[in-house]
Amino acid sequence: MVTSVTSLGRNGLYDWLIQRVTALILGVYFIFTMGWLMTHSGVDYLTWKAFMGSLCMQIANTLVFFSVSAHAWVGLWTVTTDYITTLQFGSKATFARLTAQLVIALLTLVYLLWGLVMIWGGA
């Protein structure tokens, strides 16, 4: 079994499953939210705020922020390990790939915290 210290689940099978479970959550959320927006065009602030502030949507948004983070990490890890290799970058490949992955990981963490504070911080 091939393992990697930078992949989210540390092994491919676990990453494979994470990618699919989070995909289902994101797919259902996207279709539901789009449906809500389409049936509430011209929504005013109070209705929107009440909708997003309901416990159901707070939990759904939290699940979605965690799912986006995990999904993006698995996906971008795959992309970086596929395209930032010695074929394209020669001996600097490991350095370039780890740098890219570090930037992506930090951005993902910042977005996750931003989203959570927004939903739960009562901003």
């Binding site: 699919r20 995909a23 602030y45 971008l76 951005l107 989203g115 927004m118 901003a123």
Partner: protein, 127 residues
């Protein structure tokens, strides 16, 4: 990585490789995935402005009425639609539907066609 045989011919020059439909569908899935990650701060910022106060909500609404903002939103929604449709095909193939060579071609073509229609409809909805 073990070096099996250095003399094997390797061609990974993307400019000389012919891309069949499933390869095109797959690479767009990847490109839209990366694009959505880049667009993430825009979506978070819009959600933040829409919830912060009635004033920021009104400001965002005014901004979203401009053609440029609508185009950006349409672009993000288009990437979401494509990524979702291609993702559904992925899950269907995972459970064994359309796994043959012909099924793969047909599925990839369907993904391109269905998402193109949905993206046009979304454009009509945004405008």
């Amino acid at each position: 990585m073990a070096i099996v045989n250095d003399k094997r011919p390797v061609n990974l020059d993307l400019t000389t490789i012919k891309f069949p439909v499933p390869a095109i569908a797959s690479i767009i899935h990847r490109i839209t995935g990366v694009g959505l990650f880049v667009a993430l701060p825009i979506l978070l910022w819009m959600l933040d402005r829409s919830l912060a106060s009635p004033e920021t909500f009104a400001d965002l609404k005014d901004l979203l009425a401009t053609p440029l903002a609508r185009f950006v939103v349409w672009g993000i929604v288009a990437m979401l639609i494509y990524h979702l449709v291609a993702g559904i095909k992925h899950l269907l193939m995972d459970i064994g539907i359309g796994e043959t060579l012909e099924g793969g071609r047909r599925g990839a073509f369907l993904v391109l066609a269905v998402s193109a229609v949905l993206i046009l409809l979304a454009g009509g909805w945004i405008w």
